[in-house]
Symmetry: C2
Subunit: 302 residues, 2 copies
């Protein structure tokens, strides 16, 4: 416990994850909870952080590096966006120190792209983590999730990126919309997924009418709930792939995300002849925070 | 009050509207309330209907004709779908009489299309209303709403149709999704709407990424909330128009819907050189119920 150099935090819209780390990046303790930005007042952030650190038993002298929505305008303390093209080593330098904290707490900035307008907070740290492990990486990174990011990386920098709200749309269609009546029970069909991806790739303009057809097939056809859920996912991911073609048309994509979701993207990539490899998002987040800490280590006060 | 021939009811998923009518279709009283199918148990339908009729002061001898979701499998009493191509005069004949009611209560069927699978409940009655007023009508009808229908009508029949979930998606994106933070206040911009329709028509595959751009433009650009809302609407309607091209490419569409929504579609039609005319959905619903009643009048018992 005496070897802990700093605390790393991934502070998102709905989730909070914390790790105690040695200088070389070894994790010695971890904690998480539903303390996302959306559930907190600005004045709550400090005590949530201190309570979580106390729970894993570390004192007031350990510095903290945070990434994610805690740095948004409506978060704890705004860490202004860096603009593309963004060298990843600039994340640590662009960090904002939280005033009024006895502990040295720094929040990493997000990244913005002026035209076409786009923003990210959190994903840039995962990409810094990828470069921490593979300093010579160059190519396209896809980070599937609530708001899936497609990012071109070269020269240790984020060159440009796009966002599709595929995860948020899947949650809406499957849990809230009229389609939710067709997928009350969990379940999956690889065939239905592949067919739907193919349909969206073949004619992406048909997706708006194929969505309601999922409901109609349930009412008058033979479709199962598992097929309905897989079909919805395939239509949305297929539609996203068509929208982001310039990012993958060189044929190789590195995925950073939850393993089950990455698997779906890998299946869709197969249909397009894209080579893909998946990396764990939590590991990349921690590596990115370690990288930001190490670059700025001399400047932290304990 | 003595001249009332029957009660017409439009019983939807979230709403309930009732009219007392003379034999020629003249409305003598009306009532409505939030008694949609989604808020009711099956055993509630009868008392909701009787309470509403009592409120406008009519006795147990007046027959009732209902259209909409009350006839769905999860509604009051299932009125099985008629299959396309569907002669509109068949709606009255296909009506199902509610058992156990002292009053003669009939629910009109919806319409299903086997391939591609599709269903409607309520819109078929509005189209019957259009034919009641214009018996020789032939062409495409668009009924914008939660689930927008595009319907080809010929020979007094529904030939085929498509559905886009445009209204439900607009509600999700503007009220629940991350985009909702960009449109907290109501407001509108005709220019932003027209630009977004044009962008979706020009490259429909870009819509999945242009949606999140609405949020990004708000965070780092100059876009107003009014522009954000109009842009969302334009992207979704533009995307729907591309998906339904075979329905409007002959250049003339009759709209049945809420007047403000129809106006938006008419603006988008202008951009495509489509001639359009809008009819009020409530008037068409009543006319359709009158038509179904008149065709079957001799069979009703009072």
């Amino acid at each position: 416990m005496g070897d802990v150099s700093f605390i790393a935090v991934d502070w998102g819209t709905t989730s909070f994850r914390l790790w105690a780390l040695e200088a070389d990046g070894t994790i010695t303790a971890a904690s998480d909870g539903p303390f996302g930005m959306a559930n907190l007042k600005r004045s709550d952030f400090g005590s949530v952080l201190e309570d979580s650190i106390a729970k894993i038993g570390h004192g007031a002298d350990v510095p903290v590096v945070i990434c994610g929505m805690a740095g948004a305008a409506q978060g704890w303390c705004e860490a202004p966006y860096l603009q593309t093209p963004t060298p990843l080593h600039a994340l640590g330098k662009g960090a904002v120190t939280v005033r009024g904290s006895t502990r040295d707490v720094r929040i990493l900035p997000g990244v913005k792209q002026m035209s076409p307008a786009n923003v990210m907070r959190g994903e840039e740290t995962q990409i810094a983590g990828l470069l921490h492990h593979h300093p010579d990486f160059s190519g396209t990174v896809c980070l599937p999730g609530t708001h899936t990011k497609w990012v071109r990386v070269a020269d240790q920098s984020i060159i440009d990126f796009e966002t599709c709200m595929t995860g948020e749309q899947f949650a809406f269609f499957s849990k809230t919309s009229v389609l939710s009546h067709s997928m009350i029970v969990d379940g999956w069909s690889d065939t239905a997924f592949a067919d739907a991806v193919a349909a969206a790739l073949d004619d992406p303009t048909s997706v708006p009418r194929l969505l309601f057809a999922i409901r109609a097939e349930m009412l008058i056809g033979e479709q199962s709930g598992a097929e309905a859920r897989a079909r919805l996912s395939g239509l949305l991911i297929g539609q996203e792939l068509v929208a982001t073609r310039p990012f993958w048309d060189r044929g190789n994509v590195t995925l950073i995300g939850a393993s089950k979701l990455c698997e779906l993207y890998l299946h869709a990539f197969d249909q397009l002849g894209i080579a893909g490899q998946a990396l764990d998002s939590e590991a990349m987040t921690v590596a990115g925070l370690v990288s930001a800490y190490q670059i700025q280590k001399e400047t932290f006060h304990a």
